[in-house]
Amino acid sequence: MKQNKLNKDDIEKMELVGLAPDDKDRAGTFTVIDDEIDKSKSKTEGVEILGLSQALKKYDWANDYMWQLVDPHKDEFTERVWKYEQEHGPVGQFLRFKKGMISKEPFQSCFFIKLDRFVQTVHNIIIVEDEAEFHIITGCAVASYVNSGMHIGITEIYLEKNATLSYTMIHDWAPEMIVRPRTGIRIDSGSKFFSNYISLRETKITQMYPTARLVGEGALVKFTSLILAPPNSIYDLGSRAYLSAPNTSAEIISRVITKGGTAISRGNIIAEAPDTRGHLECNGLFLSDDGNIDAVPELTAKVRDTDLSHEAALGKISEEKLEYLMARGLTRDESTQMMIKGFLDIDILGLPPALEKEIRYNLNLMEDEAL
């Protein structure tokens, strides 16, 4: 399939989900448009980026990372990608952060759809070698005229020992888009993985349940999601962590707002080893009389020496807090906006300042439009 060239409008949409078109302040770039790689570029020796098909040819061992953390027969969506790969080979990135390398500048990737009713199937392998520390900003979006289609993204992330990766994903879909990311993460001793997911726009359904396996002592995972469900949109989001080694910990935090849509916030922490800690937290806010929010926390302790907890609070914005701001002269609308922006505060993501500033700016634009 011959892809269209990106126009100004497309680039604006990509920028909104975090892509710097000129790679400025980025460690590298990988973009896919529909089913073709548009750009694959590393700006630092610490980062190796290849198309996944290319990587499988280049390295015999690359195949050892394929379908290890996501079961190809898990559901119809994984099956679909798996079958596609049998016929056409995989489309996606093979991203390797090399041993001991550290970068404050994030690596960026973007998966963009320009064809209406297109089914995009991507497969990404990300390897963070020992002691490497990196950030990834991943954006997914569609051209402004695209109304329906499907995106299935298989992502397998491997953190070796004492490595750190923050992975921030921003989505901007369309009213009839079906979105089914399937993500597995393996975290070895002393490594830390921070997953941040932001989506404030329309989707028919976005459903995912990324699963982290903490297999080495002292590993840590934190999943944070900031969601706004517009009318007719369904967000069914969960995060799962297996605490399979001693002294591992998991935190799952979600802030969800409904403006008439459905938001389901799931979480599951399974403690299988001693001296482990896990916490689930969901805050849900109603901005409309319609819509619903479900908080579905699950905690499983298979050992005695663990500390698992969860808390959830769903409701509208507290009148007391609104009036506190109104008593200072802000209107009801201004106070509400301020509270919502505060509710979706990206401070909690712990990003490097430059990236945080950028995302804050984009998030503001999206919030203003959504509200």
């Binding site: 807090k321 008593a327 200072r328 002269g329 301020m338 509270m339």
Partner: protein, 265 residues
């Protein structure tokens, strides 16, 4: 403009189906600070919050005038914009909104936010969520800081010193004075030179050691039962308790008891 900052005329207020304020009238002239004493549950906070315009407080009778304008039906935010400001007795935590963020919006005069925050020992709280995890004293200082930056003409303070240690009451008092322009010499023969007025609820009266006040009221069971010089009324309450004020009011023979209860309505 009228020389009266606030006039409350036969005010009756209902909260949660219960009548809490039962026919209160008083006036605060421009430049004056009045004090509201009274036992817990007497309706002091309700009166302040009704003047400010919080939605839970339903005026069933009477009127409120601010600088001659009838504000009885004016919404909360518009009253704030007109120049009424309040410090909360129990300020809620506003998660996600930084203190500095709000101060930048409130900035209504030349006051330097950083400098004023430092003066009130709140410089390390500017980048924190408003009141989130603040101690009792920090909350009170945060309230006064917000009011100084907001710069209202009528300042309503709901127990500004409760839960604050002595050293910090002095600091708070100093900046409440600033808020009420106490540094401006108020010569009534020359007309009003001070443009701020205040209404302060105090339980203990400690704040009176630092903030000069012009008049005080005792409120009991939704009514003003006594009116007089703040330090004399405070002394009376300290010596005889609020029970005495109530009794004194009930007997309605106040004029015969000069020196016990003071000037009444």
């Amino acid at each position: 403009m009228s020389g009266i900052m606030l006039a409350v005329d036969d005010l009756w207020v209902e909260v949660g189906g219960k009548i809490v304020i039962k026919g209160i009238s008083f006036e605060i002239p421009v430049g004056k600070t009045h004090i509201l004493f009274g036992p817990n549950g007497s309706g002091k906070s309700t009166l302040l919050r009704t003047i400010m315009g919080f939605s839970a407080y339903k005026i069933i009778k009477g009127k409120i005038f601010f600088r001659g304008k009838d504000i009885t039906k004016l919404p909360l935010a518009e009253r704030a914009k007109l120049g009424i400001g309040i410090s909360f007795q129990e300020a809620p935590a506003i998660t996600g909104v930084k203190l500095n963020q709000l101060l930048q919006i409130l900035k209504n005069n030349g006051a330097d936010i950083e400098e004023m925050a430092t003066n009130l020992k709140m410089e390390n709280h500017l980048m924190r969520d408003i009141n989130a995890g603040f101690s009792g004293g920090e909350k009170k200082r945060s309230e006064i800081l917000q009011l100084i930056i907001q710069n209202p003409n009528l300042v309503l303070l709901d127990e500004p010193e409760s839960g604050v240690d002595i050293g910090n009451i002095e600091l708070l008092g100093k900046y409440i004075d600033k808020l009420l322009q106490k540094e401006v010499h108020h010569n009534e023969m020359l007309g009003n030179s001070r443009s701020k007025s205040g209404l302060i609820i105090t339980h203990t009266g400690h704040i009176l050691n630092y903030v000069p006040a012009d008049k005080s009221y005792v409120m009991i069971n939704g009514k003003l039962v006594c009116k007089g010089n703040p330090s004399e009324v405070l002394e009376q309450i300290s010596n005889n308790g609020f029970g005495h004020c109530e009794e004194c009011f009930r007997r309605e023979v106040i004029k015969d008891f000069k020196g016990i209860c003071y000037e009444t309505k």
